[in-house]
């Protein structure tokens, strides 16, 4: 359908102000957090109610027009990249918190509610919403649901999927279904579990019931410096093996520390190759007991220096440094690619050595930050896209790193999703029969394959090439990545 036909037809079902198709609007929606890709949609629909979303999706289904549901567009895998023949359904106006049930610690939200807004709304009751992707100041809960977003604290608290209790789901063929009962357990197959993390390929979540957790009353956050990355990796194994389950265990390498120091003035132990961030949280009684054990483990692990956050301010500084790394690296290098592979924990040291060797061989600098507790790597591959061949070289290195994760028995993505970026690698993890079964499952909910068409599955049409680098929001310092 031509742009004019689409717009005319949509105007027959929606008020005119719900539609945007000016050149500037189309340009504003052409990319998400993965700026390598840019595609302009035919039009953008900004519904004001769930009913308008239903009408729009039913229209798409009738007409066979592809749609991409979008929140704040912070996807790092190109998950909310528009389709050239389709429309974007921007859910930002569906941003009401519909219900807060304090005694039962849950909230019902619309998909456009910002992650951190929910936490600030329930903070007075000592509660919070646990999933904490680094973009939580701007990303929406609907987007988190689509990509099963993680964060630094998912070692202990799990991903988005572990915090969604029920949803009112609009399937791509326009049917509304309820999944989950709101208590965390259900009867029959875990359809809610299938929907969360389905990358927008099955439909749109219109109401999301999430778990709220009691805010930990005490934190114990430490920075431990090591002479080698391997020592830091070994310390992770020792901590995990001791029976402690910290809220977060992160590792940053020297380059990441330099970037964080330059960007936000974070302070790290002197002359170390790697720093470990460990955070314990919970009740005062538990943390007081566990910190003794952690101190003992760290002192035996060969740490050259251990810095303990003395107060909330110092804790915030440690996390600010950690969460700033991606955008900080963006200031050191004009462009970069972020990878999100996972390796078995025991292979962390080996994987890092290999990445280091590959980086040297390619002559490309790579900074490493990772969620060490669960083996989730985030190598940052730095390059200058204005110089001929550098993007291609960086992409080749990125591909090698993804292949390495597959070879080591890991995953191509821990928390960013497959989206546009990694679909060609999916067959490295799953057989043709497995992918076919996933495809049939998709068609059961979306017979015309209009929901986020072209994402996740490997045979989708070719992407538009662009440049890796900072998202406009990151350049403004509004968003950061994990």
């Amino acid at each position: 359908m031509s742009r004019d036909t689409i717009v005319d037809s949509l105007l027959s079902i929606l008020p005119a102000d719900r539609l945007q198709n000016s050149a500037s609007a189309l340009a504003a929606f052409q990319s998400d957090g993965l700026t390598a890709f840019a595609v302009q949609p035919r039009a953008i629909v900004v519904p004001r109610s769930a009913e308008e979303v239903v009408q729009t999706v039913q229209w798409c289904h009738r007409q066979g027009v592809p749609f991409v549901a979008r929140g704040s567009g912070t996807s790092l895998s190109g998950g909310s990249l528009p389709h050239a023949d389709g429309i974007v359904i921007a859910l930002n106006r569906l941003n009401r918190v519909l219900e807060v049930d304090l005694p039962n610690r849950r909230a019902v939200v619309e998909p456009g509610v910002i992650n951190s807004v929910l936490t600030s709304m329930v903070a007075h009751a000592g509660l919070y919403y646990a999933p904490d992707p680094s973009s939580q100041q701007v990303c929406t809960i609907g987007g988190n649901v689509a990509f099963n977003s993680g964060g630094a604290h998912c070692l202990k608290y799990g991903m988005t999927s572990n915090h969604v209790l029920a949803m009112k789901m609009l399937l791509a063929d326009g049917e509304l279904v309820d999944v989950g009962l709101g208590g965390g357990e259900c009867i029959g197959p875990d359809l809610l579990g299938l929907m969360v993390g389905s990358e927008g390929l099955l439909g749109i979540a219109l109401e999301i019931t999430v778990k709220l957790m009691p805010r930990p009353e005490k934190f114990h956050t430490v920075l431990a410096g090591y002479d080698t990355l391997q020592q830091a990796g070994a310390a992770v194994a020792t901590i995990i093996g001791s029976g402690l389950l910290p809220a977060a265990i992160e590792i940053m390498d020297r380059l990441s520390m330099q970037a964080a120091t330059a960007a936000v003035g974070a302070r790290y132990p002197e002359n170390v190759e790697a720093v470990l961030i460990v955070e314990l949280d919970g009740s005062t009684e538990s943390v007081d007991t566990e910190r003794c054990l952690l101190d003992e483990l760290l002192s035996k692990s060969g740490a050259s220096e251990v810095i303990v956050a003395a107060d909330a301010q110092e804790r915030a500084t440690i996390w600010k440094g950690r969460k700033s790394v991606f955008s900080a690296v963006g200031h050191l290098s004009p462009d970069f690619i972020v990878q999100d592979g996972v390796v078995p924990r025991s292979q962390l040291g080996f994987a890092l050595q290999r990445i280091e060797a590959m980086s040297r061989e390619a002559g490309i600098a790579v900074a490493n930050v990772f969620h060490a507790g669960d083996g989730n790597l985030h190598p940052l591959i730095m390059f200058d896209g204005r110089k001929p061949g550098e993007l291609q070289n960086a992409e080749r290195l990125a591909e090698k790193i993804v292949q390495l994760c597959i070879e080591l028995g890991g995953s191509i993505t821990g928390e960013h999703g497959v989206g546009m970026e990694k679909r060609q690698f999916l067959p490295g993890m799953f057989s043709e029969d497995s992918l076919d079964c996933m495809r049939r499952t998709r068609i059961a909910c979306d017979p015309k394959e209009i929901a986020n068409r072209g994402k996740m599955f490997p045979d989708a049409e070719a992407p538009a090439l662009g440049m890796y680098g900072l998202h406009p929001l990151e350049k403004q310092g509004v968003a950061s990545r994990m």
Binding site: G150, G158, S161, N162, S286, D436, C437, T441, A444
Partner: protein, 362 residues
């Protein structure tokens, strides 16, 4: 063996995977001719590296064997599996979607299934998830298989996330005067960031709370619990939780209810008013209750209570002629659509047939 099963799916009209037979009501299909595939012939731990917190085993592996292997390394299955002493299998546990009362500490079964391999309705071997503790690639088939009741595929292999056994646990009991008082006490505790592993309310309004952590913190946590709950607390470490007593005899039926969390009190009181049914335990945090019914004739009244509260239920043990679903069954429509995609020729037992029959009978 797996090849044989793939062939069976291709050649037979209906196939039914079976395990230890500890949840027989979930596979009941009287009058339907099925070829039963006993998964116990595919048994054994396939991979276990304690430092990875992952264990991979064939679907017919008894959970008791898994627990023994994990126990040697002070690790355990944090979702607190049921019927382990009765030789329940890994595949049957995943397909039945059942977690135990101690799943409050780290999560229920769905949070621990990292990878599954199963035979789909086309006789093909399908894999979903990965052998890592964190993974976002592809559709979450591991979760979809939780509670699939053998109707979405024949599980052949499962990888579970495991965790270190809590070093110490402690169980406290408080007698309450009413469900209302017990539920209020449970909510008071659950609003605090305490390391609570289980909270259960029994038929006589008793409240049992188990917490877990390091030995040195146990007395302090108990003190804190005592301060939060007025009234006497008694230590009952040695006694099993109510929901560990799930035996049925004669015509008795064991029913598992999943309910919206705000409905704990209405459900407990509604069930207490029924003649032919008895509450075994109610876990307000997870929204799960276990009930014993005298027989099929008692399910009609229970159905009315469940419908009124938007709760769903299934008969897990006892003699029924088919999968017996109660209460809200809105999920069956979507489950059947997905089943049609995974099993286009109807080789597995349907979800829907039972729902239709129940609607007629109910």
């Amino acid at each position: 063996m797996i090849d044989d099963w793939c062939q069976a799916v291709l050649q037979q009209d209906k196939v039914l995977p079976t395990g230890g037979g500890t949840k027989p009501a979930l596979r009941a299909a009287e009058g339907v001719s099925t070829v039963q595939l006993d998964t116990r012939s595919l048994s054994g731990v396939l991979a276990y590296d304690p430092s990875e917190f992952l264990i991979t085993a064939a679907s017919g592996t008894p959970l008791s064997e898994l627990q023994a292997v994990l126990g040697e390394h002070q690790q355990y299955l944090p979702f607190d599996p049921l019927f382990v002493n009765e030789q329940s299998t890994l595949g049957g546990t995943v397909a039945s979607g059942l977690s135990g009362p101690r799943s409050l500490l780290y999560g229920t079964l769905r949070d621990f299934v990292m990878e599954v391999e199963f035979i789909d309705g086309l006789g093909k071997l399908v894999r979903g998830g990965g052998k890592v503790v964190k993974n976002a690639a592809g559709f979450d088939f591991p979760k979809l298989m939780v509670g699939s009741y053998g109707r979405l595929g024949i599980l052949t292999e499962v990888t579970l996330k495991v965790l270190p056994v809590p070093i110490a646990t402690r169980t406290l009991f408080q007698s309450c005067a009413s469900f209302s008082q017990a539920i209020a006490a449970a909510q008071t505790l659950l609003a605090q960031p305490l390391p609570i592993a289980a909270v259960e309310i029994g038929p006589d309004f008793g409240l049992r709370v188990e917490f877990a952590g390091l030995q040195a913190s146990m007395d302090k946590v108990q003190h804190r619990v005592q301060e939060l709950l007025s009234g006497e607390l008694e230590r009952r470490d040695a006694q099993p939780l109510w929901s560990e007593e799930l035996q049925v005899s004669g015509d008795e039926l064991l029913v598992r209810i999943a309910f919206p969390p705000g409905k704990s009190l209405e459900l407990a009181e509604g069930l207490a008013g029924l003649d032919g049914s008895r509450l075994v335990s109610l876990a307000p945090a997870g929204g799960v209750a276990w009930v014993k019914a005298d027989g099929l004739q008692s399910l009609g009244d229970m159905e009315l209570v469940l419908q009124g509260l938007g709760a769903s239920a299934v008969v897990v043990r006892g003699h029924v002629t088919e999968l017996t679903l109660l209460g809200k069954t809105g999920w069956v429509g979507l489950a059947s659509r997905i089943q049609l995609a995974i099993d286009p020729h109807g080789k597995f037992l349907p979800f829907e047939l039972s729902a239709q029959r129940n609607a007629v009978n109910g």
